[in-house]
C-alpha cells in the first residue's frame, strides 16, 4: 500500500504549523510532494477547495483526502504510519500529558510569540514577558530527559520544535535572550537540530528570520 500512496502537503516554509507536519512526515520516512502557498498573495483555488472552513495551511492531502489543523495532521500521520517511529507514547496518561502541552503551546505560547515578532511598544513588552513565563512552564516538563518524548523525539518535541527555530527571530525583534532565561530549552533545541530528519525539514533559524522580515514587509506588519 505504501508505494501507491499519494501525499501532497500545502505548505509555507516558515510557518511553524506547517513545519510540524514536515517534521512528522520526515520522522516517519514518508515521501510527499510540497505545494508551496504564498501567504503574501491571494489563496490558491486548491487551498480554498481543500480547506474551505479555515482557508489555511498546512493541509495534508492523502490520496485525495484532505486533513487540516497541524496537530490533528501530526496525530493522523502517527496513526496511519503506526508501524514505525511512534510519536505519541503508548500509555494513555503520557499521551494525555503530551496532548495537554501541545494544546498549551497553541493556546498560550503562540499568541504571546506573535506579540513579540509582530507588535511593538507595550504590547511587545507584555508579549515577551508572557512568552518567557509560558515556555518556562514547558521547560519544566523536560525534567531530566533529553527530549519531551523521553529518550527519543516524540509528539510534543515535534509540536514545539518549530518555535525553537523561531527563537532567533523572536530574540532579534524583541531584543532579548531566550537562552539566558531558558538554557535547558535551548539545549534541547540544539540537540534536536542535530537529527537529520530535523535539519533536512526545516529552514535554518537565520533563514527563518530573513523569511519573516520579508513576510512582515510584504504584509505591512
Amino acid at each position: 500500500m505504501a508505494n501507491s500512496d499519494h501525499i501532497v502537503l500545502l505548505d509555507y516554509s516558515v510557518s511553524p504549523f506547517a513545519m510540524r507536519v514536515r517534521l512528522a512526515l520526515a520522522a516517519k520516512g514518508v515521501e510527499y510532494l510540497i505545494k508551496e502557498e504564498d501567504l503574501t498573495q491571494s489563496k490558491s483555488s486548491l487551498l480554498l477547495k481543500v480547506n474551505p472552513v479555515h482557508k489555511k495551511i498546512p493541509v495534508l492531502i492523502h490520496n485525495g483526502k484532505p486533513v487540516c489543523e497541524s496537530l490533528i495532521i501530526v496525530e493522523y500521520i502517527d496513526e496511519v504510519w503506526k508501524d514505525r517511529c511512534r510519536l505519541l507514547p503508548a500509555d494513555p496518561y503520557q499521551r494525555a500529558k503530551a496532548k495537554f502541552w501541545a494544546d498549551f503551546i497553541d493556546k498560550m505560547v503562540y499568541p504571546s510569540g506573535y506579540k513579540v515578532w509582530a507588535a511593538n511598544g507595550e504590547v511587545q513588552e507584555a508579549g515577551k514577558k508572557e512568552f518567557i513565563d509560558r515556555i518556562k512552564m514547558l521547560e519544566g516538563e523536560l525534567k531530566s530527559n533529553p527530549y519531551f518524548g523521553g529518550e527519543t523525539l516524540g509528539f510534543l518535541d515535534i509540536a514545539f520544535l518549530p518555535l525553537y527555530y523561531w527563537f532567533h527571530t523572536l530574540e532579534t525583534f524583541g531584543k532579548f535572550s531566550i537562552e539566558a532565561e531558558c538554557p535547558k530549552l535551548v539545549a534541547w533545541g540544539k540537540r534536536c537540530m542535530e537529527e537529520e530528519f530535523v535539519y533536512t525539514s526545516l529552514p535554518h533559524p537565520h533563514k527563518v528570520y530573513d523569511l519573516v522580515v520579508d513576510y512582515k514587509k510584504k504584509m505591512g506588519i
Binding site: 486533513v67 489543523e69 490533528i72 496525530e75 496518561y93 494544546d103
Partner: protein
C-alpha cells in the same frame, strides 16, 4: 468503588467543558465522584491538579490529574476499552471528528461566549458571527448523516455528539436568556434535529443543567459584563 480505579471529576454545574466529560463517563459506565467547584473560590486541590490553567474540568484517575476537556475525552476512550467507542477506528474519520470538535470548541464557542458577555452592538455582532459559524458547521455536517436525520437508539453517541450537546444541549435556556433563537430549526435544521435527538439520550438528559438556574446565570453574566 475500589482504590484501584478511583475516578474524581472536578467541575462546575453550568460548564459545557465539564458536561462533556460527565456525559462520556456515563456513556462508558464509569463510576466517578463529582466535586463541585466554586470558581470564585477555587479549592487547593483544583489548583494543585491544574496549576497551568486553574480551570475545570479536571479528571483525577488513581491520583493522576488530566486537564482540558477534549484531552480528557480521548484519555477516557483509551483507558476504558470496554463499553461503547466514542471515536471511529479509521484515522481519516478520526481526523474529521477532531477537526469539527475543534471547530465547535474554538470558533463556535468563542462567538457565543463573546455574545454572552456583551450587550448592544457588540452583542449583535457576536451573535451574527455565531450564526455564520453555525451555518458553516451545518454545511460541514451534511456528510455525517447519510439518512438525513440523526437518531441515537442505543445511546450510541460519539465524540462529536458529546462536544455538540455539551454546548447546545441547554439551548432553550440560552435562547430564553438572550431573547433570541440560537438553534433555529429553519436556519439550521440539521443541527436543531441533532441537538433535539441528543437531548433525549438518557446520559445527556441527566446531565442537562437546570433550565431556570441556567437562564439566571447567563443573564447575570450579561448584566455584569464590562461595557
Amino acid at each position: 468503588m475500589g482504590e484501584e480505579n478511583k475516578v474524581t471529576l472536578y467541575g462546575m454545574w453550568a460548564s459545557p467543558f465539564v458536561k462533556r466529560v460527565e456525559i462520556a463517563l456515563k456513556i462508558k459506565g464509569i463510576p466517578y465522584e463529582y466535586v463541585e467547584e466554586d470558581l470564585k473560590n477555587k479549592s487547593q486541590l483544583l489548583l494543585q491538579y491544574n496549576p497551568v490553567h486553574k480551570k475545570v474540568p479536571v479528571l483525577v484517575h488513581n491520583g493522576k490529574p488530566i486537564a482540558e476537556s477534549l484531552v480528557i475525552l480521548e484519555y477516557i476512550e483509551e483507558t476504558w476499552k470496554n463499553g461503547p467507542k466514542i471515536l471511529p477506528e479509521d484515522p481519516y474519520e478520526r481526523a474529521k471528528v477532531r477537526f469539527w470538535a475543534s471547530f465547535i470548541q474554538q470558533q463556535l464557542l468563542d462567538s457565543l461566549v463573546s455574545a454572552a458577555k456583551s450587550s448592544g452592538e457588540a452583542h449583535e455582532k457576536a451573535m451574527k458571527e455565531a450564526f455564520e459559524k453555525l451555518t458553516v458547521f451545518e454545511e460541514g455536517m451534511k456528510g455525517f448523516f447519510p439518512s438525513g436525520t440523526p437518531h441515537f437508539e442505543d445511546e450510541n453517541i460519539g465524540f462529536l455528539d458529546i462536544v455538540l450537546c455539551s454546548l447546545f444541549g441547554p439551548h432553550k435556556a440560552q435562547e430564553e436568556a438572550h431573547g433570541l433563537k440560537i438553534i433555529d430549526p429553519e436556519r439550521h435544521p440539521l443541527v436543531y434535529s441533532w441537538v433535539t435527538a441528543l437531548n433525549e439520550v438518557p446520559a445527556v438528559k441527566e446531565s442537562l443543567p437546570p433550565h431556570d438556574k441556567m437562564v439566571a446565570l447567563i443573564q447575570f453574566l450579561r448584566r455584569n459584563a464590562p461595557h
